[in-house]
């Protein structure tokens, strides 16, 4: 039996029972029934991290609740800075230095408030109660119970913008990690995708604001950015896998690494870039997802 025939037979087995969407584990056990001799070879053909190891399984409600938590966090973060809710700068009017900075944050905050309203409605319309809204502490000290990571978040605009970048980049990555769990629900999927790209525009602008203030940062996540997190800390998980230069595609039914580092004609400018520089462009060209657990850990840092 050749490889493709095996796959075709397995696919047939799966489609005979469409009611039970077979997860990978079930597929593997089914594979065992077909012929264990091929198992090692098949597993060896699955090097993609996305297809290896334990994956999250999440309901549509899980996805909506995570979205609402992220939007509540962002909305409160900006609302405090603008003086709309207590806990922000002593003089919110002066905090942003320029009217352009303040106007941009007002625009972003208004979007986050709309996202909060949207996801609140989607959850309640579905008949689910809402989770209690936590208390927020954007210094990262959890109300003084641990050392603050960002003690000057509302007294230093540059720190505020760093945290803003962290939250926006994290939001983009978190939505991206959730879309596969709402794939069969076109309505929720499209709402999530359309929120996702709005957040990406916010992230880009926050980065542009930081660059205008002298920070070494691009509008997209780049290995060339000056790091804003420290290895080993919770916030660092937002960036620790963003420098990935490896992407996988399925070709002739085999998971294949895209040969950005060898044969693909991507280094086509004049003069050509160094090998490291072209791979940095590859890293920039793809925003990576994070699993819900990573997003939850970041939420935990700023709530109590």
């Amino acid at each position: 039996m050749d490889f493709l025939n095996l796959l075709a037979r397995l696919a047939t087995l799966d489609t005979e029972a469409p009611a039970t969407a077979a997860p990978r584990r079930a597929a593997l056990s089914r594979l065992g029934q077909v012929g264990t001799a091929l198992l090692p070879a098949l597993l060896a053909a699955l090097p993609a991290p996305a297809l290896a190891g334990t994956k999250e399984t999440r309901t549509r409600l899980d996805v909506l609740k995570l979205a609402l938590k992220l939007e509540l966090l962002e909305n409160e973060f900006y609302s405090r800075a603008l003086g709309l809710t207590p806990g922000g700068p002593t003089n919110p009017a002066a905090f942003f230095v320029t009217t352009a900075n303040r106007a941009a944050i007002q625009t972003i905050q208004s979007h986050e408030a709309q996202h909060v309203a949207l996801f609140t409605r989607l959850i309640t319309d579905a008949g689910s109660p809402l989770d209690a809204v936590p208390n927020f502490d954007f210094t990262g000290s959890k109300n003084g119970t641990q050392p603050a990571l960002y003690p000057d978040v509302y007294t230093n605009l540059d720190t505020f913008l760093k945290v803003a970048q962290l939250l926006e980049d994290a939001g983009v990555r978190a939505y991206k990690g959730q879309v596969e769990f709402i794939q069969t629900d076109n309505y929720t999927l499209e709402a999530a995708l359309r929120t996702h790209s709005t957040e990406a525009r916010h992230a880009a602008h926050i980065r542009t604001m930081r660059r205008q203030r002298g920070a070494n940062v691009k509008s997209w996540v780049s290995p060339a950015d000056a790091p804003i997190t420290t290895a080993g800390t919770v916030p660092d998980a937002v960036y620790s896998t963003e420098s990935n230069t490896t992407q996988y595609i399925v070709r002739n039914s085999v998971i294949t690494k895209v040969p950005f580092d060898s044969s693909l004609p991507i280094n086509v400018g004049t003069p050509p870039l160094s090998a490291a520089a072209i791979l940095a462009k590859v890293a920039e060209a793809f925003d990576e997802p994070v699993e819900a657990a990573t997003a939850e850990a970041l939420l935990q840092l700023f709530t109590y």
């Binding site: 397995l10 769990f181 509008s219 895209v258 950005f260 925003d287």
Partner: protein, 246 residues
């Protein structure tokens, strides 16, 4: 285009059980489907297909159709940033200037996206498209008043905004979870591009009311709407037919 609004049909939609786990598709189901779809694509390569108007490029159906659609849009964007490098607007930018390094990044990103889709599609890829940029003035930063031609940044804004709306609208047509996630990895970078280009034209316009609705959701466009715009930048014989994506 779907609208996320509070109305009767939406309530019906959301009455569906929220607690049903949606598990990752089996790789084998996926791989089998891909093998089948590849065969379908190969059989659909005939340009005289009944569903395909003469002289148009049929992107096909199923996931390969969506991938070819994305490949076509990335070809268009990559060709734009490639051509841009020969115009006096770009060549006149100071080395190391913020605008030049941004346009350099965009050029590489779009070439990288294009080559990724070409690789994924293999022998099922549509041909290399011939572009028509006669309505773009590559020597002008933005449209001169009274000129019917788009300036470089105006055209970049149009392409990037279009790309984001296209990906947002195409997600629902992708059946492979891996390709949905891959599209997600690309669309947010396109949105970052769009935001920066808009800020270069006018600071603070990164997410104008022309690209989002009252729920702060970015626009999404159906493939048919997208190609109505994209085809204006493609030569006869390279114009796209997306009617089999559904």
């Amino acid at each position: 285009m779907s609208n996320i609004q509070h109305n009767g049909s939406d309530e019906a939609e959301f009455a569906k059980p929220l607690y049903t786990p949606i598990k990752r598709r089996s790789f084998f189901m996926y791989a089998g489907a891909t093998a089948g779809a590849t065969a379908l694509l190969l059989s659909g390569c005939d340009d005289d297909d009944d569903n395909n108007p003469v002289g148009m490029v049929d992107v096909g159906s199923g996931d390969p159709g969506v991938l070819n659609y994305a490949y076509a849009l990335e070809q268009l964007e990559a060709a734009f940033y490639t051509t841009l490098r020969t115009g006096t607007y770009y060549t006149g930018l100071a080395a190391g200037s913020a605008e030049k390094s941004a346009l350099d990044d965009l050029y590489y990103h779009e070439v990288i996206h294009r080559e990724l889709f070409k690789t994924a599609l293999g022998s099922g890829a549509i041909k290399g498209l011939e572009v028509d940029f006669s309505n773009i003035d590559f020597n002008a930063r933005t449209s001169a008043s009274g000129s019917s031609k788009l300036g470089v940044l105006d055209a970049a804004k149009a392409f990037e905004d279009l790309g984001v709306a296209a990906y947002n609208g195409a997600g629902k047509y992708i059946t492979s979870a891996d390709y949905l996630t891959l599209a997600g990895k690309i669309v947010s970078v396109e949105a970052r591009h769009a935001a920066l280009i808009r800020d270069l034209i006018s600071n603070g316009t990164f997410v104008g009311s022309d690209v989002i609705d009252g729920n702060a959701l970015e626009r999404s466009k159906e493939p048919s709407e997208v190609v109505a715009t994209a085809n204006a930048f493609l030569k006869d014989g390279s114009k796209l037919n997306v009617s089999n994506i559904k």
